[in-house]
Symmetry: C2
């Protein structure tokens, strides 16, 4: 039975507490936050929510990797975002009170913290600075989207794939001698959905990257030098 007056913040022990959207929750509201708080483990491939689902709250990735994807009528899909620990997802449907427009699915074994919709609304109403932090997350998403739109318009698909591999390596890579190695958390199809090409083209892009020699590719295992000075390769 928790003591309401001294109740600890549910995110207090989280690595990302300093930047948590829930950090500004005042002590008197911590009990509401705690009431709506729950944690959930997701195995690889398991969904957190589906497209068109009603919003159940605000989700925060605590561990692993979540893919946000929209499925199209013709069966294809587009990968819109990779959500890492510390990232908030589901905030659009929460703030606009509408169904999800993307599905969220674990690419790696993941852990997600949820603040149930009703309680999240109460806490946000009682503390505007949470809304300010949510707005900041919105703006980060806008920035990411703009970067992606610009990259799609100005950069070759091969270069964009290289950029993605470098970014993934920074997060997932582990040093092996003077190299970095990672197990790709994404299938070729997922990468194709991320770049916006067909799976066959993605396969051919890997062929071209492999023959360039800077990046070693063997199935989902990727290796490269620790500090690859390969941002040069032009827009081909």
């Amino acid at each position: 039975m928790p003591n309401l007056s001294t109740q600890t913040h549910p995110c207090g022990a989280c690595d990302f507490y300093a930047d948590s959207v829930w950090k500004p929750v005042a002590s008197c509201s911590v009990s509401i936050l705690s009431r709506g708080f729950s944690r959930k483990n997701l195995g690889i491939g398991h969904p957190l929510y589906h497209q068109e689902d009603e919003n159940r709250g605000v989700f925060c990735v605590s561990k692993g990797l979540i893919a946000l994807r929209t499925n199209h009528h013709n069966g294809s899909s587009t990968l819109l975002r990779l959500a890492y620990p510390g990232d908030i997802i589901g905030f659009r449907s929460f703030l606009e009170n509408r169904p999800h427009r993307t599905e969220a699915r674990a690419l790696l074994a993941s852990r997600v913290c949820t603040v149930a919709r009703r309680d999240a609304q109460k806490v946000v109403q009682g503390n505007p600075s949470i809304l300010a932090r949510l707005a900041s997350r919105c703006i980060s998403e806008i920035d990411r989207n703009h970067d992606r739109i610009i990259a799609a318009a100005t950069t070759s698909n091969k270069q964009r794939l290289t950029d993605i591999l470098l970014r993934l390596m920074k997060v997932h890579g582990e040093p092996v001698g003077e190299r970095l190695r990672m197990q790709l958390p994404l299938s070729r199809s997922d990468l194709a959905d991320l770049i916006g090409v067909q799976p066959e083209t993605m396969s051919r892009l890997f062929t071209r990257i492999r023959t360039d020699g800077d990046i070693q590719v063997s199935g989902r295992e990727i290796q490269m030098l620790v500090d690859p000075s390969l941002r040069r390769s032009g827009h081909g």
Copy 2:
């Protein structure tokens, strides 16, 4: 000399007052809002702000059409948004307290209302529901960006240009007999920057659309049937 207690809302006479982000301003804060409020006319091609400029406030388009564009190092540029009356622009740099990442420039003779940065901050702090409305505008921008990313990945450039022309016609078109006619507010280069192709390709896309026969093109003058059932043409 305005009577502070009964001061009228500066947006009160605006057509978009019902959805204005400043509508929730309480009567006691109207004086602050009014203090920071100014209106400005922009001739065609004139800038509202430049890329890298410090934020001067929150801007609301009152009349005309504003293009938000990012210029790249190599001299090219990408058109990220067309802002119409009622739209808020410059909110990212305002909320995040950072320089603009886009430039804003009038495509048509325009009028823009500004709430100066310092006063806007005060008013927002005093009324969280304004922040909620700003967040809602952020989400609209995210939705637009997602639609664009999806369209770029799944739709042919010819179809995307057709979609843009239809959307522009809804706003700018005027009936002439059983047809709609408009003067394109965008140059071929601007449209190329919007779709993400080269100007030469944009010219060829127009050639192909013209030969399809559903849309008549003559320079910047576009005509089509009032209710064109031409959403059919596939992804060719």
